[in-house]
């Protein structure tokens, strides 16, 4: 390493910084021995270093440190979980005397079979049946009513009564009975059976004639 007057300060600086190799350090020592006027410079460079560096305690730890913060959400989850566990453990158990509580009203609505046994249905003879039924004169008529239990409340129309006529009836002259039979009185109305015949609507003819009212507002149309 060439050391001279022009770079002696840089070499001394590198020496104190620890940037010189062993060979460079030896060259610098030789140069200082030969030029003792630079020994003073060497000592002054050494004094520029802050060797005394005590690390004081500045305190005020409370100002710097952060306290561990737990979120309210976390505590809410914990409290909810504990509440659920406590409710499961300490919930009062009911005595089970009846295995299944009976709710008669609900059962009556949902089961037509049960309701047919309890409900009484009044059969009113329909007007149409009164007119159309033709009965033979002076003959015994046996009326057989077939009625199922579930018919009373079921939406299906009840079966009409079957009239059993005797074999001897062959005449076509069949006078109309003056008074309706009791069996006829018991015939269901059309409205009761749910089979209401609606008259077909007549199609009305529309006379489409142009008028001034239907013209569009846009004059350019």
């Amino acid at each position: 390493m060439r050391i001279g007057k022009e770079n002696i300060e840089e070499v001394i600086f590198d020496f104190h910084e620890g940037n010189l190799s062993d060979e460079g350090k030896a060259d610098l020592m030789d140069y200082l021995h030969k030029h003792p006027e630079y020994e003073k410079e060497f000592m002054l460079w050494a004094k520029t270093y802050h060797t005394d560096k005590p690390l004081l305690d500045y305190g005020n730890d409370d100002r710097f440190l952060k306290k561990k913060y737990s979120s309210p959400l976390k505590w809410g989850v914990v409290a909810t979980t504990m509440g659920i566990v406590a409710a499961v453990l300490f919930w009062p158990k009911e005595k089970q005397t009846d295995p299944l509580p009976v709710m008669p009203q609900v059962e009556q609505e949902r089961s037509p079979v049960v309701s047919s046994e309890t409900k009484e249905v009044e059969l009113v003879p329909a007007k149409v049946a009164e007119k159309k039924i033709v009965l033979p004169r002076k003959e015994k008529i046996t009326v057989v009513l077939e009625k199922e239990d579930s018919v009373a409340t079921s939406p299906v129309a009840p079966t009409a009564p079957v009239l059993a006529l005797p074999d001897t009836v062959t005449k076509r002259e069949t006078p109309v009975a003056k008074e309706p039979l009791e069996a006829v009185k018991k015939l269901p109305l059309k409205s009761d059976s749910g089979m209401v015949h609606k008259k077909p609507r007549r199609k009305r003819k529309l006379n489409l004639t142009p008028t001034d009212n239907i013209l569009p507002f846009n004059s350019d149309f």
């Binding site: 300060e9 840089e10 600086f13 910084e17 003073k40 410079e41 000592m43 002054l44 460079w45 004094k47 520029t48 270093y49 802050h50 005394d52 560096k53 690390l55 004081l56 305690d57 500045y58 005020n60 730890d61 100002r63 710097f64 440190l65 952060k66 306290k67 561990k68 913060y69």
Partner: protein
């Protein structure tokens, strides 16, 4: 970074950062404020700060904060006034003289000298903190020491 990690960093670097800021500002209370501000910013930006470079990030933040305060309060010490003040002191020891000599340097040189002498950082680390190159750090450090040396040379009684 958790609260526990943050507190560990505070315990490790609090006094160092306060000392660095105190040497820069020449004011203990302001130094503590600067250090606290740096740690608060560290917590705010904890997601972005590299855990391996926390110390450099802290010193960079403190350095910029010191520069802001120094520019704001115009706390520059006139060189002539300092020399006059130093000669008036009866038998000052070397430590005090060196502390006073820091005021002869500009902010960057002072910061480089403090980071080098007190914290023992390399040129590259100092350059990373101050956002300059390593060669710039070395040349600035050379000029800083040269100036202090000249200041000590004037004080013949020290030697």
């Amino acid at each position: 970074m958790t609260v526990s990690d943050y507190n560990d960093i505070v315990r490790l670097y609090k006094n160092r950062l306060c000392r660095y800021a105190e040497k820069m500002l020449r004011n203990r209370h302001m130094a503590v404020d600067v250090a606290q501000e740096s740690f608060m910013k560290l917590w705010e930006h904890r997601q972005r700060v590299d855990p391996l470079k926390v110390h450099a990030w802290l010193y960079t933040t403190a350095y910029h904060h010191c520069l802001t305060l120094l520019k704001k309060e115009r706390r520059y010490v006139d060189e002539k006034a300092l020399e006059h003040f130093s000669f008036e002191q009866p038998q000052p020891d070397l430590k005090k003289i060196l502390d006073e000599a820091l005021d002869l340097l500009n902010e960057q040189q002072r910061s480089i000298l403090l980071l080098r002498d007190y914290e023992g950082y390399s040129y590259e680390e100092i350059g990373q903190i101050l956002e300059i190159s390593g060669s710039q750090v070395k040349s600035s450090l050379f000029r800083a020491r040269q100036r202090i040396k000249e200041y000590l040379k004037d004080l013949e009684y020290v030697i």
